[in-house]
């Protein structure tokens, strides 16, 4: 081991240390340690004057190791390392000996013991520094561009911010159009803005934005990760409609699917099953891209061996092309924003609500489609059973939410938005038809956001009725439904007649398990994407370069979704901004001579940061993924893998230095 020239710099900390620890004694002790070329002390090591002295000593004496005995490394370790770096010494050859919190503060009333301990701490760090190797901080180029998965309001808003910052954005949407669930809601609370009026401009902006490449009817099927780069494999499903489509809608008019006597019937996913749709269709008028799509699963041409070409024959633009094939595209990006959104809970398992058994029991999203003037009932809330307008509506809260932990049928979390959705829909109906009666059966009405309470109060003023208590049963009484409920407010037992019962069903995560697996993302217990830190970092994830926003991360309203999309976009921009990704130097490294390719390290690594290379049969570290936790170093049978600056020899040196027995027995 070549001789080292180590400098020991002891700080008085203006008395915080020197009042208890005999700094002179520690300095003299340090001076006599092996390889210690200099031991000195300062009133304030962290002051400018202290830093300059440190740099001057490094330059003049050519020190190749420094121990600063001062306060906790959490305070100035980075600063001292940077200063040492400026002075020409490798910053990672500097260590801190914490003789303030761990000595002068912790043993205030035992100065001699504090001094003795300070000596040992300094000795331990010197021994460690003598075994440190210089580390150069490597950087890896970050692939430019970002992929946004999910074309709802979260994905759209995030894409716009990033695109406006000049980043190349690839927006990938599974369904034929962007817009997501927000496009299905008629209005948004608490402002009662028309949803489409606030969403459509953003859809157009993102559709026409030069920096955004839009891949719709496309799904991410795989993702590979390498330092600073994600390579996504995207499968584009064939629309069988070319860009020549001029949107004349003749094909939809003539398509036989879902007509009265047609053997193929298909419910419109967009209209939440309230109406049927043709095989060739446009989900909703403002859909973007404005292209029709042929659903091969319900099209005569595909299902009945080419027996029908009506759409192709009558299409004036000759835009129908049955020969299109699924297409796989590779998308290389530096960052990924997961904005896959939510889907509505299916209340069928809650049999006592009779959803699915009685046509007049619907969910809030179905109710929204009824309120939409472009919807299946042209804005009139009608009974699905006979189409007549509904005079009394009973809404039920917490359907599928706030259930027992670990229950396979219902969720344990509160879905956060359903109370305000119910208030919104109720007062929209009351405004449209004042003579209609609306009851909201709730457990706790959660109107917690800005303007929510005022919105809730206003709904009472226009006559929305609130019953505190969830119902026992929804039962049919001839044509109308009867809802059995005991109202805690009035104490009365009610049997509320209802033309339509609306269930405020829970928000569930969109099923994206294979996407999450491909990106090595975890799910939190409620099934949503797990954020890096629920409180102070909700839009980053444990995987560097992958961000999350909107309902993919948990139930939330549009206001919070926009806030998260902004935060995620900013974090992604910062990550991409430098173009260079400084790799954390304190990560694992493998000595190829010792590695037996036994895969023990890959089994314990939770960041998928190590993999045995099949050709060289040696474990290879993905430095962008490795966090340096060191779990692998414990299970490696040949100590081939170690974490830089925390190798076994370095730690053992510190142990021996601190130990009561100077030499092994």
């Amino acid at each position: 081991m070549t001789a080292r020239k180590v400098g020991v710099f002891i700080c008085h900390c203006g008395g915080n240390i020197s009042d208890v620890v005999d700094v002179k004694d520690v300095r003299e002790f340090a001076a006599k340690l092996d390889d210690v070329a200099l031991a000195t002390d300062f009133r304030f090591a962290c002051s400018n004057e202290g830093q300059e002295r440190l740099q001057q000593e490094i330059r003049e004496r050519g020190l190749d190791g420094v121990v600063v005995a001062c306060c906790t490394p959490k305070m100035y370790e980075d600063m001292f390392r940077a200063k040492a770096g400026e002075a020409g010494m490798n910053p990672y050859l500097l260590e801190i000996a914490n003789i303030r919190e761990q000595c002068s503060y912790a043993h205030r009333h035992e100065p001699d013991k504090a001094t003795a301990k300070a000596k040992l701490l300094v000795k331990a760090q010197v021994e460690k520094v003598r075994k440190l190797r210089p580390l150069e901080v490597r950087t890896a180029p970050i692939q430019p561009g970002v992929a946004v998965i999910g074309g709802g309001i979260a994905g759209i808003h995030g894409s716009l911010l990033l695109a406006n910052l000049g980043h190349k954005v690839t927006l990938i949407e599974k369904s034929p159009t962007i817009g997501g669930n927000m496009a299905r809601t008629v209005k948004t609370f608490p402002t009662d803005d028309c949803a489409m009026c606030t969403l459509s401009p953003k859809m157009n902006e993102v559709y026409n934005h030069p920096n955004v490449t839009l891949l719709t009817y496309a799904e991410v099927v795989d993702a590979k990760r390498s330092p600073g780069k994600f390579t996504l494999t995207v499968e584009k499903k064939p629309r069988y409609v070319t860009d020549a489509c001029i949107g004349c809608n003749r094909c939809t008019e003539r398509c036989p699917v879902s007509t009265a006597k047609s053997p193929i019937q298909v419910e419109s996913e967009w209209e939440m099953g309230l109406s049927k749709r043709k095989a060739v269709y446009l989900p909703f008028p403002q859909a973007l891209p404005p292209l029709w799509t042929i659903d091969a699963d319900h099209c005569f041409y595909f299902q009945k061996k080419g027996s029908c070409r009506v759409c192709q024959t009558i299409c004036p633009a000759k835009a129908i092309d049955f020969t299109q094939k699924p297409e796989r595209v590779e998308v290389a990006v530096g960052a990924v924003l997961v904005a896959t959104g939510w889907k509505e809970y299916d209340p069928t398992p809650l049999a006592h609500y009779a959803y699915g058994r009685h046509p007049n029991v619907v969910t809030q999203l179905q109710f929204a489609r009824m309120l939409d003037s472009m919807g299946p009932t042209s804005g009139v809330v009608a009974k699905p059973s006979d189409g007549k307008p509904a005079d009394t509506i009973v809404m039920v809260q917490c359907v599928g939410s706030r259930g027992p932990p670990g229950d396979p049928v219902v969720h344990e979390y509160c879905s956060r938005v359903c109370c305000m959705v119910a208030v919104k829909h109720a007062q929209l109906l009351k405004k449209a038809r004042p003579e209609a009666e609306v009851y909201i059966l709730y457990n706790d009405l959660r109107a917690f956001g800005k303007g929510f309470e005022e919105y809730y109060a206003k709904s009472m003023e226009i006559g929305v009725k609130y019953v505190r208590g969830l119902p026992g049963r929804v039962r049919a009484d001839g044509e109308t439904l009867l809802v059995d409920v005991q109202d805690m407010n009035s104490g009365r037992r009610l049997a509320l007649p209802a033309d339509v019962v609306v269930l405020s069903a829970a928000m569930e995560p969109m099923p994206v398990d294979n996407l999450l697996a491909a990106l090595h993302l975890d799910k939190s217990p409620d099934g949503f994407v797990k954020e890096y830190h629920a409180k102070i970092n909700p839009t980053e994830t444990a995987v560097k370069g992958v961000f999350v926003a909107g309902c993919a991360q948990g139930p939330k309203d549009i206001t919070d979704t926009i806030a998260q999309a902004g935060s995620a976009a900013m974090s992604a921009a910062v990550f991409l901004g430098s173009g260079q990704m400084t790799l954390n130097p304190l990560v694992a490294e493998v000595d190829p001579a010792l590695c037996r390719a036994c895969d023990r390290c890959t089994e314990v690594c939770e960041f998928d940061a190590v993999r045995v290379d099949p050709q060289s049969l040696v474990a290879v570290i993905d430095e962008t993924a490795c966090e340096g936790c060191g779990k692998c170093t414990v299970v490696c049978p040949t100590a081939a893998i170690s974490v830089r600056q925390f190798t076994k020899p370095q730690i053992v040196a510190a142990i021996d230095a601190l130990a009561p027995l100077a030499v092994a027995p």
Binding site: A351, H352, A354, R357, R473, R475, A476, D477, L482
Partner: protein
């Protein structure tokens, strides 16, 4: 088809007719009912409250008798079905089973789990099946409007979901159709009859019975059919009292499901014990026999 037959307590006492009808129908369908003379009471909720372990031990003892013959246990009462199948479920847990077997050992018995508990209605619909029932329906019910009264316990018994949707059961309606009758839909067909508070809060039981009877009458039912003797007692024996309490005249005959099947099989009404009912069944029997003279 052989079953260990557990009639319970009421079906051998105040509702003897249920046991008689069940045996008559079983005989018609070549179902062998193996009696369990030594089986004890299912606890009906009361024993479960006063001493849960005793109730579980007694039910384990009954189940062990069925297990001895390698037979499923057949009940004819909703409450027996609930507490016996609940006990069977609890006893699927090895820990509980060992603890209870520790008690049972003192009587030289042991239960190893796996016995299935089935109500006669489930046996008729699933094991016997529609074709065989129809074949035996020598005297179809001639569109007799029958209102089903399920009671609660049969629907809440663990395993009931195997043959019924507790919120929207159709078993009795299907049975009535198979036997040529016309099921009458009314919203109280799955309501509670209040038997379990009959002695402590008679007013509640009368109120509940009145609601059901009034609804069924309102929808045009000529007769009710119930799979539980306890519901039968409240609906039939206390019908006049319930009428007086709700100031409404009721004259609604109430049949046990076994009796309804017996009538459709053309079994002599006397053998079905119809004359033990407080609300006379004569109108129903006359409606089924139209021209023939009926002996009371």
């Amino acid at each position: 088809m052989r079953y260990a037959y557990f009639p319970g307590c009421v079906a051998l006492d105040s509702c003897k007719e249920l046991d008689a009808a069940t045996r008559a129908v079983a005989e018609e369908l070549q179902i062998e009912l193996v009696d369990l003379p030594e089986a004890a009471c299912c606890g009906a909720g009361n024993l479960q409250e006063s001493s849960p372990d005793t109730a579980l031990a007694l039910n384990a003892r009954t189940l062990s008798m069925a297990q001895a013959g390698g037979l499923d246990l057949l009940t004819v009462c909703g409450t027996c079905q609930l507490y016996l199948s609940r006990a069977a479920k609890q006893l699927e847990d090895p820990g509980t089973r060992d603890r209870i077997n520790g008690l049972l050992a003192r009587t030289g018995r042991r239960y190893d789990g796996g016995v299935r508990v089935k109500h006669f209605l489930q046996v008729l619909l699933q094991d016997v099946g529609p074709r065989k029932l129809k074949a035996n329906a020598r005297r179809p019910l001639l569109d007799l409007p029958v209102g089903a009264f399920y009671g609660c316990h049969l629907l809440r018994a663990p395993g009931a979901e195997a043959f019924e949707d507790p919120e929207d059961p159709r078993g009795i309606e299907r049975l009535v159709e198979i036997l040529g009758g016309r099921p009458v839909a009314y919203s109280h067909r799955t309501a509670c009859c209040g038997f379990h508070v009959l002695t402590t809060r008679e007013d509640l039981a009368l109120g509940l019975a009145a609601e059901g009877l009034s609804e069924a009458k309102g929808q045009g039912a000529h007769v009710l059919a119930t799979p539980c003797p306890l519901c039968h007692l409240v609906l039939d024996a206390y019908q006049s009292k319930a009428g007086r309490a709700a100031s409404e005249r009721f004259d609604m005959p109430v049949l046990h499901v076994s009796q309804l099947v017996g009538l459709a099989f053309g079994i002599d009404p006397a053998r079905l014990g119809l004359k033990r009912h407080l609300v006379s069944l004569k109108p129903v029997v006359r409606e089924l026999e139209d021209e023939e003279v009926v002996k009371a």
